[in-house]
């Protein structure tokens, strides 16, 4: 199944999107990792500095970013497992399409409860 995307001059398949998603999520997680190491380095300045830094992360926009991070990590993990399986057992390419769909569907399904849990402190139904 192919469909048109804005700014792309050709039909894009789900397989291409799955591949692009692997790169995009990988770069996203790497950028977060660089930020996370800097944030953790404030531990070296003692409790006041570290605890103040942590308060900067307790708000809705950051939490939405963390949910996006979780989605990127879940997708990258599941798609990475598919890559490993198909690279080491090439006969599984017979299930290329269902496996790719399975990765996308599993990510969406896993993110439903995870998003609800992570959003709870900032949501209307939260504490």
């Amino acid at each position: 199944m192919r469909f048109r995307l804005p700014f792309v001059g050709y039909g894009v398949s789900w397989a291409q999107l799955a591949w692009f998603g692997h790169r995009a999520s990988g770069i996203g997680v790497l950028i977060y990792l660089f930020m996370h190491i800097v944030e953790n380095a404030t531990l070296a300045f003692g409790p006041e500095v570290y605890d103040f830094t942590q308060t900067l992360f307790r708000n809705l926009p950051v939490r939405l970013g963390e949910i996006l991070l979780m989605a990127a990590l879940v997708y990258h993990s599941l798609n990475g497992l598919r890559v490993i399986v198909m690279d080491f057992w090439p006969s599984t390419t017979a299930w290329y399409r269902p496996l790719t769909w399975g990765v996308i569907a599993s990510t969406v399904i896993a993110m439903i409860p995870l998003s609800i849990i992570m959003l709870t402190p900032y949501a209307p139904w939260g504490p």
């Binding site: 790169r23 990988g26 390419t93 849990i117």
Partner: protein, 153 residues
Amino acid sequence: MAGSRRVWPVEGDPLRRNPSRAAQPRPAQAGRERVMWYFMRISGLLLVLLALGHMGIMHVLVQLTGQEINFAFVLERWGNPFWRGYDLLLLVLALIHGVNGARIIIADYVERGGLRALLTWTLFGLGLVWMLLGILVILTFDPNGAPAIGPFS
């Protein structure tokens, strides 16, 4: 998926050469590129457990149990050598895995030459500095609670 006619793998199909359609098929010759090809898959397997476990604990379980991440939390967590070793292994594997992935993406989009070399070496330089910073923070943290034992105090 209408009609379950099997269309692949067929002769000459890219799927046969690069079954998973990952960034690159397994390099034909032995050498650095092939070592990194295996490293990405083996570290990836470990990172599925380490990184998802880390996120599951720090972003889901901590909240479900009503805890808060602050200095006291880190004191307790890194007082345990298991969690300190876990975080160190996660840091080293994730940073190498991520930097190598970014290197492959740069090589895919930037022609061989000066700009590619500049971007790649900048990436390696940043990766090395951040790796040293991360290792230093984990190893020099004093779980006995004396504050400000960092390199700048």
